[in-house]
Every structure is written in C-alpha cells, then in structure tokens.
C-alpha cells in the first residue's frame, strides 16, 4: 500500500519554484531523500508534515488529503524539522513531555512511560534531567528524533536526522529507524549516502524540484556500474584524490585505470552530474 503519494506537486516561494511538478510514491519502510542543497527536500518534507500547502498538484498521506483532513494526519505523524528550535530552558524530559502533551497523551503515567521509552531509544536516558541548552549539538538532534517517535506514529518524517551524530550514534539510529520501518513509513532527507545504503529500502533523488531518480539503493548504485575508475591521474569534474594517492574518477575511463565497484554515492554523483559538484545551473 502506498502511504505517501505525491502527484505533480508545484511549490513556489515568490517567483522561485522550489518544487516543479514532483511525483513519486512510497509505502511502509524507510525511504531516503537525497539531493543537493536547495533541491527541495525540506520543502517537500514540510508539505508532507502539513506545514506547507501545495500550490498545485495533489498529495495523499496515509490515504487522506492533507488539505481537507489535516488533523487525522497530524495525529499519526512524527516530524523532525531541519532546524527544530528547542525551548532551551526545558530539560530533555520536560521538552519531550511537553510535546507528548501536545500529542494528546493525557494520562500522566502512560505519558511519562512513553517519554522515558523514546529518550532511552535515542540513548539520552543519562541526561534526561539536563537542560537542553547544556547539550551538545548531536545530543540536541537526538532529542528531536526522540520527540518525533512519541506515540508510535505511522508516518515519520526526519529532515537530516543524522547531521552531527557521532558514528556510534549513527549506528544506533540506523538500528532504531530500520526497526520502525518494519511496519511504518519513514522518510528521511539526508546528505549521507552511507545512511541510505545501510538503512533505506527505497531512495528518491531530487534535483531542482524534480524527481531525478526513484528506486532501490542498489539500483542507484548500479547507475554508476562500469563507470568508476581508480587511476593515477585526475579526469573530468567527478574525480577526487583518495587516501592511497590514486584518483577515483566517475565517467569515462582515463588512462591506466582500474575498474572498481561503485557505491551509492558514485551513482548519485553520476546521476546529478555537474549539479552534484556545484557547477552548471
């Protein structure tokens, strides 16, 4: 079943079209949203989170139309904005508890159990009495993830959830999210192709407000199959020096090159071409 159906969606800020006729569908499981800065990932996530409305086109979330039935969707939604902005004088527990109240968890005992559960899930139990302003950036991010998981929402939208997490926490996050994705829909916008490879069953690549790719991470990887080379010399724009002193080149074969297995990142870079390295339009 498709829990998120986006059809021909257009969204403009003034004259600028942030989303330009975007269409894709996804269902239960973890879907990664990749794309360069300004591609429209946050704009899309905000629309799915009922923060923004569409200019034209249609959205269906969990089988409902958000322009007509906002509240039932909001009741089943968990959302982490790209820049959450916390009340900094709250402690971790107080903040998550406050969100839980606004999520209509009115029974005190049940709510506190749920708050403790999500705080433990993100590994913050030890600092739950600490003020948010005293936390590190990565810990604050985890507070944001915790509140998004309150009440076991069916649709979880996370905008750059792993930005600033240390490797151990990233691992923990992947484990947590993949468990949630077993029966619920998780959409995460990210710049971390490794997260997508490790965690996502589907991936959507946005470029200039359009869908540039929709498929599995393996399919995205295969976009670069037979086109990734290690060579002693640089060739073209999609080329960088690796730790061993060789150049990793994506595209045509340079001289004295050795073909290597592509990664998702290679597929992504090849797909976006110049846009990925910041030249062209």
């Amino acid at each position: 079943m498709n829990t998120v159906v986006v059809t021909n969606v257009v969204k403009s800020y003034g004259r600028y079209r942030a989303l330009d006729g975007l269409s894709f569908t996804t269902g239960p499981g973890v879907t990664g949203l990749l794309g360069p800065n300004g591609a429209g990932k946050t704009t899309l996530i905000r629309m799915l989170a009922t923060v923004l409305t569409v200019d034209s086109g249609t959205l269906r979330l969990l089988g409902r139309d958000p322009s007509a039935e906002r509240l039932p969707i909001r009741r089943r939604l968990g959302y982490l904005p790209q820049e959450p902005g916390f009340h900094r004088s709250f402690t971790v527990f107080e903040f998550v508890d406050y969100v839980a109240i606004l999520k209509e968890l009115t029974d005190r005992r049940e709510r506190h159990d749920e708050v403790r559960r999500v705080i433990a899930e993100v590994g913050l139990a030890a600092v739950s009495g600490k003020r948010i302003r005293a936390l590190s950036g990565g810990m604050r991010r985890r507070v944001g993830i915790a509140q998004a998981l309150l009440g076991e929402p069916e649709l979880v939208l996370l905008d750059e959830p792993t930005a600033g997490l240390d490797p151990e926490q990233r691992l923990r996050f992947r484990d947590l999210i993949s468990r949630i994705g077993e029966n619920r829909t998780v959409l995460l916008a990210t710049h971390q192709t490794e997260d997508v490879a490790a965690l996502c069953g589907r991936v959507v690549v946005l470029d200039q407000g359009r869908c540039a790719f929709e498929g599995t991470p393996e399919e995205l990887r295969r976009v670069a199959e037979g086109q990734v080379w290690l060579s002693p010399e640089r060739s073209g724009m999609l080329s960088w020096r690796t730790g061993e002193g060789l150049f990793r080149n994506i595209g045509g074969a340079p001289a004295a090159a050795r073909l290597v297995e592509p990664t998702i990142e290679d597929g992504y870079l090849l797909l976006l071409g110049d846009a990925a390295v910041g030249v062209g339009s």
Binding site: R46, V51, R74, L77, P81, P84, I101, K103
Partner: protein
C-alpha cells in the same frame, strides 16, 4: 516564515483536537509560569516589601496600601513579562514549526497559557490570605478593615498581568514589544488624580490618603467605589483573555463578541467606580 504562518491559519477542523488535553496543558503552562525567574523574583520582592514595611514604617496607612495594591508593583509587572516570555518561548526559539504540526491546535495552546495565569493568581490569593492572618495575629492597626473587593484587587491585577502577557505575545511578536505595552500601561495608570477618584481607572490605585509626613498616620480614604473597582479589574482580565484568543481561533465572531461584552462591562464598572 511569513508564507508558513499564513498557510497554517487555523480552521474549525483544528478545534476537533482533544479537549481533555487542555487541563493537562494548562497545568504544565502554569508550572512553567510559576517557576519563571521573573515570577519568583516578583514574589520575593513582595515578601521583601512586607518585611520592610513591618520592620520600619509600620502604621495604618502603609499597612492598608500593602494589603490592597502592594502586589501590583512589582509582582504584577514581573508576572506580565514572565507570561509574555513563557508564551513566546517557542516562537523565539524557532520551535513553532515543530509544535505547529502537533495535533493540539495553537488556539488550544493559547487557551492553556491564559488559564495558566490562574497559577500566579491563586498563589497571590494565598499570599494575601496569609498576610491577612498575619495582620490579625500581630494586631496590625488599620483605620478600617479592607473589604473583600479591596483585598481582591491585588491578585486580580496579577491575573490580568498574566493574561495580558499572553495576549501581548500573540499579537505583538516582536522583540521589545512587551516593553512598549508596559510603558502604555504605566501611562494609562497615571490617568486622573487621586483627589477626583479617577485614579481608580488605573491598576496601581492607592486607596488610603497619604497626606503629609509621617505618611503612616491615618488620614481617611480617597473617594470612589472599590467594589466596582474589583469588577472593573475582572472585566479587564476577561477582556485580555478574549483578545489573546481572538488571535488564532477560527471562532472569531465568538471571541469578538466576548471581547465586546467584557469591554462594555469594563466601561460600566469603570464609570460606576468613580465618585
């Protein structure tokens, strides 16, 4: 940001959120308001003024002032700022987007913040009761015992300050706007002089006459009806609440009507209190 605020205008659907969340939320907001450093400072300053009055300048005049309008300065003023800061905390932190998509509507949040002003009000009532008991125990000389309406005027000002703080946070979302509101309140408070009794239109209304030094001597009371003064203050509290609710609620006409009604009551009571 402007785009987003426009798009998330609330409609009637948003009011189908759980009403039962309101008391829980109001309690949480009341706790936040009561624990705010400015509120705590306000109560501490009031306690300090009680101690200094008792210690140094005890006498019928200051004792009567203390127990009637002593709470307006500084407790009322500080509760206004505390309420404004608590109600605007998520906006100032950039957290409105996160909270805005939760099922509890902004209207419900505003209602909870207004109800939370009952927190400092009830504590002020308690403090007032304790002070009355203290006066009785220590047999503090008063020219006459204060009426219940005169006793209520202090806590009512605290209540109004809390609710107006919320209204100010909702309608004037700019840095420093609460200062401007306070300046306006002070200017309004200085309306009319005590001789004509028109000072009752303000909030920090002195009831006993000060006279010449030593101020502590009993000199009688300014003219005016203090029963109606309490009704006038209550009407202003309710009006501030209606004003706050009017900001986001889809029930615009309801809150406009409620606001108009409280305005009429305030005008009638405000006129009736004058000598």
């Amino acid at each position: 940001m402007i785009v987003e605020l426009l798009e998330s205008h609330e409609d009637h659907e948003d009011l189908e959120d759980k009403v039962s969340a309101l008391p829980v939320l109001a309690l949480t907001e009341a706790r936040r308001l009561l624990r705010h450093p400015l509120t705590l400072l306000g109560f501490a300053l009031f306690a300090l003024s009680v101690v200094t009055e008792v210690g140094d300048y005890w006498g019928p005049r200051p004792a009567f002032s203390l127990i009637t309008n002593g709470m307006v300065l500084w407790l009322g003023v500080l509760v206004f700022f505390a309420a404004e800061l608590v109600a605007s905390a998520s906006r100032r932190a950039g957290g409105d987007e996160l909270l805005g998509v939760l099922p509890t509507s902004r209207t419900r949040r505003t209602a909870a913040s207004c109800l939370a002003a009952l927190g400092p009000f009830l504590v002020a009532c308690l403090v007032q009761a304790m002070l009355c008991a203290g006066y009785a125990v220590w047999e503090v000389p008063l020219e006459r015992p204060p009426t219940i309406f005169e006793l209520a005027s202090g806590p009512l000002c605290v209540l109004g300050a809390g609710v107006l703080g919320v209204a100010s946070a909702r309608w004037l979302p700019w840095r420093g706007s609460s200062m401007l509101v306070m300046v306006a309140l002070i200017l309004y408070n200085n309306i009319g002089d005590e001789a004509t009794g028109r000072h009752l239109l303000g909030f920090y209304a002195e009831l006993p006459i000060w006279g010449q030094w030593p101020y502590r001597a009993a000199k009688g009371f300014h003219p005016g009806n203090t029963d109606w003064h309490a009704v006038y203050l209550l009407a202003l509290c309710l009006g501030a609440g209606a004003l706050a609710m009017l900001r986001d609620s889809p029930r615009r006409w309801f809150w406009l009507g409620a606001g108009a009604l409280t305005l009429v009551l305030a005008v009638v009571a405000g006129w009736a209190q004058l000598p």
